[in-house]
């Protein structure tokens, strides 16, 4: 028996409101299933579960606001009922519960919210309603909700769609001022508290890009790979041998984590960014990483991220090369301890084996926390990323 808890989506989050249950008591759930929708100051978030089991019963009704960590439901194993113990141990249901001791102190801090409008101005709505409204360009503020505590549900949006023909306003749903303030707070804290060091190296990407082009030539667009997927796999592989870059720095010092959950920095149209996690990148194939990345970018931009993706990246990768710059020196997202940055692949004269030739190269950088590692280990880590990119078939 385990408890399904109100998740913490940031150090500043004290409570959340249950908007709706998406599963019923008796339903069998799998790790990763979205079980509930919770309204927080960071918007409506789909809360996924980290355990297989059966929903035994709800402990909280929709419309109730409860503190972070409050049990929302009891999850049974699905085995024939043993007597329910009188006192249920409070086991946090967390992404890496099976691999890692629960992190002491506050949950990993998430600085960059999606849809971070102040609650008072932001209508309560289910993510499905929100998505549909965004697609159809319906302003949620204009709708009257028929769900719990006036929450706007899909039916309300359908009715509005039937009666209106408005212009798309998807970009307006995000409060960029609020997102900018969140970024400012996170980055100020990082610069104040984290003794960063920075390393940079140039990686010959010629083989990796040629391999990518060969693979993509035989695939329809829906199955094509992007360089970003190769870079994520290379980082995940190298992290396996460099645990001091993967985890959280808390009051107890650095806590490495077994799961490699890479936060992929995603730019939001109109300004701002968010870095939700792709879980267990070290255990995924290249195609799986690409599929997850594609899904994550789409959901980040439509405002449909899940609680686990926001709460547990163990390192961040930023790919600002997309925008043409050659190098990016990142600022670490607390409480993480490292950020890997990739610039744009550029063609350069390159000396190798006593000859100069034109090669496509990319600048890889590491910003890391000196409380958790030092430059020597950082250099080995970057060199390992480089080595892995020379052998793209193995990624």
């Amino acid at each position: 028996m385990a408890e399904f808890l109100m998740p913490s989506l940031g150090a500043d989050m004290e409570a959340g409101t249950l908007v709706e249950w998406l599963k019923q008591p008796g339903d069998r759930v799998k790790r990763g299933d979205v079980v509930a929708v919770v309204e927080t100051q960071k918007g409506a978030i789909e809360v996924d579960i980290f355990e297989d089991g059966i929903i035994e019963r709800w402990l909280v009704e929709p419309g109730t606001t409860v503190p972070v960590g409050t049990p929302l439901a009891l999850i049974g194993s699905g085995e024939p009922a043993a007597a329910i113990p009188a006192s249920i141990p409070r086991v946090p249901v967390s992404a890496s519960a099976s691999e890692v001791p629960p992190a002491p102190g506050p949950q990993p801090w998430v600085p960059l919210p999606i849809e971070p409008k102040p609650r008072s101005h932001r209508p309560r709505a289910s993510p499905a309603a929100r998505r549909w409204a965004a697609e159809r360009g319906i302003a949620l503020d204009a709708l009257t909700g028929s769900g719990p505590r006036g929450a706007i549900v899909l039916d309300d949006v359908e009715r509005a769609v039937a009666s209106l023909a408005p212009l798309p306003t998807a970009a307006k749903r995000l409060d960029f001022g609020e997102m900018r303030r969140a970024i400012a707070a996170a980055m100020s804290r990082s610069k104040r508290e984290i003794p960063h060091y920075y390393l940079s190296t140039t990686v010959d990407l010629t083989r990796a890009l040629a391999w990518l082009e060969t693979v993509n030539a035989t695939r329809p667009p829906a199955q094509r790979l992007l360089l970003a997927a190769l870079l994520l796999r290379a980082v995940a592989g190298a992290l396996g041998k460099a645990p001091e870059f993967n985890g959280y720095y808390t009051a107890e010092g650095f806590q490495p984590t077994a799961g490699i959950h890479i936060g992929a920095a995603i730019a939001i149209r109109g300004g701002g960014l968010i870095a939700p996690a792709i879980h267990d990148v070290n255990r995924l194939s290249l195609d799986e990483v690409m599929a997850r990345l594609r899904d994550l970018v789409a959901r980040a931009r439509s405002g449909a991220l899940r609680s686990s993706e926001l709460s547990d990246p163990t390192i961040t990768v930023t790919n600002l090369g997309e925008r043409g710059v050659e190098a990016v020196f990142g600022i670490i997202y607390p409480p993480q301890v490292a950020l890997v940055g990739f610039g744009a692949p550029v063609e350069r004269p390159w000396a190798a084996s006593g000859q100069v030739a034109l090669r496509r190269v990319l600048t890889a950088t590491l910003a890391a926390d000196h409380r958790a590692s030092d430059g020597h280990r950082g250099a080995l880590f970057l060199a390992d990323i480089d080595r892995r990119l020379q052998n793209p078939e193995a990624l």
Partner: protein
């Protein structure tokens, strides 16, 4: 499918990626990636959508033909012509 139909499909798909930009008033010679702030994921999604809607193959090697709005309309129209 006429050139106007192709233009309409392209405007529609660009609008999905960048709803805040008016594709109809766009300079046909402007760089699409810059005008629409399109990254490689957006571009791949655009190519995927165009390829599915128009039922044509758009190999990676042809991506330079989609660099501007004008080029893209021309390329897609030609592709449809040769395919049909």
């Amino acid at each position: 499918m006429t050139r106007n139909d192709v233009t309409a499909v392209l405007v529609d798909e660009l609008g999905r990626i960048a709803p805040e930009i008016d594709a109809i008033g766009l300079n046909p010679d402007a760089d699409l990636r810059e005008e629409f702030d399109i990254d490689s994921m957006d571009f791949l999604n655009l190519v995927t959508a165009l390829s599915q809607r128009l039922q044509i193959d758009i190999p990676e090697i042809d991506y330079p033909n989609l660099a501007t709005f004008g080029h893209a309309v021309k390329y897609l129209t030609q592709k449809l012509g040769t395919a049909g």
